[in-house]
């Protein structure tokens, strides 16, 4: 009996780091999402005037939540090599602004919907998918965050909403441009888009 207990406790101790590891990606996403929710629910930032302040705060949270370099690289995929380093840098910046604006615009209209955190699914050694659901009065919307472990932190490199991967969708759009046009045209398209938005 005693021996079985000690065997069990050894196993438990060995398994503990695994358990803690499994919780980290979900934790990382949860922390950031909750921060965003706090900003959205902040009574001091109500109404139209509060919207601008909300967007600013959300932008700074998303900077820590997302790995924009990884996001950019994976979006362009094979085409990433077509850009020289300075173009890659500018692309990452423009793409990030585009996404942050889109995300902030969308989410600022939030009205007390609930966010439920679900499972974590391992994808590869370094990446995982954290499943969340947004419960609105109308429907339950599945939103999955794909996160990658870099320098000890889990950050988001893709968001999959109702089965539609963000980077996959943008890849189709950028590829259409890069197929026959130079990276400069892509950058110019993005500059105009972001300048306008």
């Amino acid at each position: 009996m005693k021996r079985q207990l000690s065997v069990l406790s050894v196993i438990a101790v060995l398994l503990f780091p695994l358990y803690a590891y499994a919780g980290a990606p979900l934790n990382a996403v949860e922390v950031h999402v909750n921060k965003v929710l706090d900003v959205l629910r902040d009574p001091a930032l109500k109404g139209e005037s509060g919207k601008k302040a909300k967007k600013e705060k959300i932008r700074s949270i998303s900077e820590k939540m997302f790995d924009y370099t990884e996001l950019s690289r994976r979006t362009l995929g094979q085409d990433w090599k077509k850009l020289n380093p300075s173009q890659q840098k500018e692309f990452t910046e423009l793409y990030r602004t585009l996404l942050e604006d889109a995300y902030a615009d969308k989410i600022v209209n939030y009205k007390d919907e609930k966010v439920i955190f679900g499972k974590e699914n391992p994808l590869t050694e370094k990446t995982m998918e954290v499943q969340t659901t947004i419960v609105t009065k109308k429907a339950d919307i599945p939103i999955n965050y794909r996160v990658i472990l870099k320098e000890g932190a889990w950050r988001v490199y893709d968001v999959v909403i109702e089965g539609v991967s963000l980077i996959n969708n943008y890849r189709s759009q950028f590829r259409e441009i890069l197929a026959n046009k130079s990276p400069e045209v892509l950058l110019d398209t993005l500059r105009k888009k972001v300048g306008k938005a």
């Binding site: 209209n109 890849r171 189709s172 590829r175 259409e176 938005a197």
Partner: protein, 274 residues
């Protein structure tokens, strides 16, 4: 009975023609790329014609992100691209000029709770579509759940106005349609079609949609104008929950046509898989 057999014959014909069409369209795409190689260096400003060719050629030919190989390929042929693009623009105008104003006016007058009840009501009516689709995919538990939902929501939910099955019994709707059913049999999309008013689809999903319409009780309301009117009302009601979504999405994309096409096939792929 006659209707059902007509449907099957029609969809079989559509699917066969779609597969041949999709296959024969690939040589066209190859010839285009050969021609391009003989051209001079690409102009900095692409003419609209060139842009159309590239959009057609690069109909979402995705490649794996090779480091990890976790990215999947989604692709669909787009041989009737000019029609699709025109229909995309038509639908865009339809939304801004007609559907959105009507829906906005409607939602300012009708409170959200009532609109939700209406949505539940119509959803309850389309149980046959979900029931049959789940059955044909051998998803027996889900099919059974749809029956339970229908019975419970129609009674305790007062004619389907309230989704009490979800609240009390924790049985959620299992969204299946015949297009997904065909997909689960391994039938591919064929090619991309954008229908006026109805939006993005494919040959397979159109065939499925025809079947869905035949299973929808609203379709059998006489006279036909009333049936169409009811469907239009359902559409206006549904849109009232999503005003602003389309605009936000448009602001966030660089190429709306390509983005919509890509999102459609990604979404349908996920629906088929789940």
């Amino acid at each position: 009975m006659k209707l059902i057999s007509t449907f099957f014959i029609l969809s079989a014909l559509l699917l066969i023609s779609a597969q041949t069409f999709a296959v024969s369209s690939s040589p066209d795409q190859e010839t285009l790329s050969v021609q391009k190689q003989h051209e001079d260096a690409p102009l900095p400003e692409q003419t609209s014609k060139e842009m159309k060719e590239t959009e057609q050629k690069n109909s979402d030919v995705e490649e794996d992100v090779t480091e990890e190989g976790e990215e999947e390929t989604v692709k669909i042929a787009d041989p009737i691209y000019p029609w699709n693009k025109a229909m995309y623009h038509f639908n865009d105008k339809f939304y801004f000029w007609l559907l959105k104003p009507v829906s906005k006016g409607y939602s300012s007058v009708v409170p959200e709770d009532i609109r939700l009840a209406v949505s539940n009501f119509f959803s309850n009516l389309t149980t046959p579509i979900r029931f049959v689709s789940n059955l044909l995919q051998l998803k027996m538990k889900n099919a059974g759940n749809e029956l339970i939902r229908f019975a419970y929501n129609s009674t305790a939910g007062v004619g389907g106005l309230a989704d009490v099955a979800k609240k009390d019994l924790d049985i959620k709707r299992h969204d299946e349609d015949l297009g997904q059913t065909l997909g689960s049999y391994g039938i591919g999309h064929g090619f991309y079609i954008v229908w006026p008013l109805l939006g993005p689809s494919s040959v397979r999903d159109t065939a499925g949609k025809i079947g869905d319409i035949l299973l929808d009780p609203v379709s059998y309301v006489n006279p036909t104008e009333t049936a169409v009117g009811i469907a239009a009302y359902d559409r206006v009601n549904e849109t009232s929950f999503h005003i602003g979504d389309y605009e936000d999405w448009k602001k966030s994309v660089v190429n709306p046509y390509v983005s919509m096409r890509n999102a459609y096939i990604q979404h349908r792929k996920k629906k088929v898989e789940e």
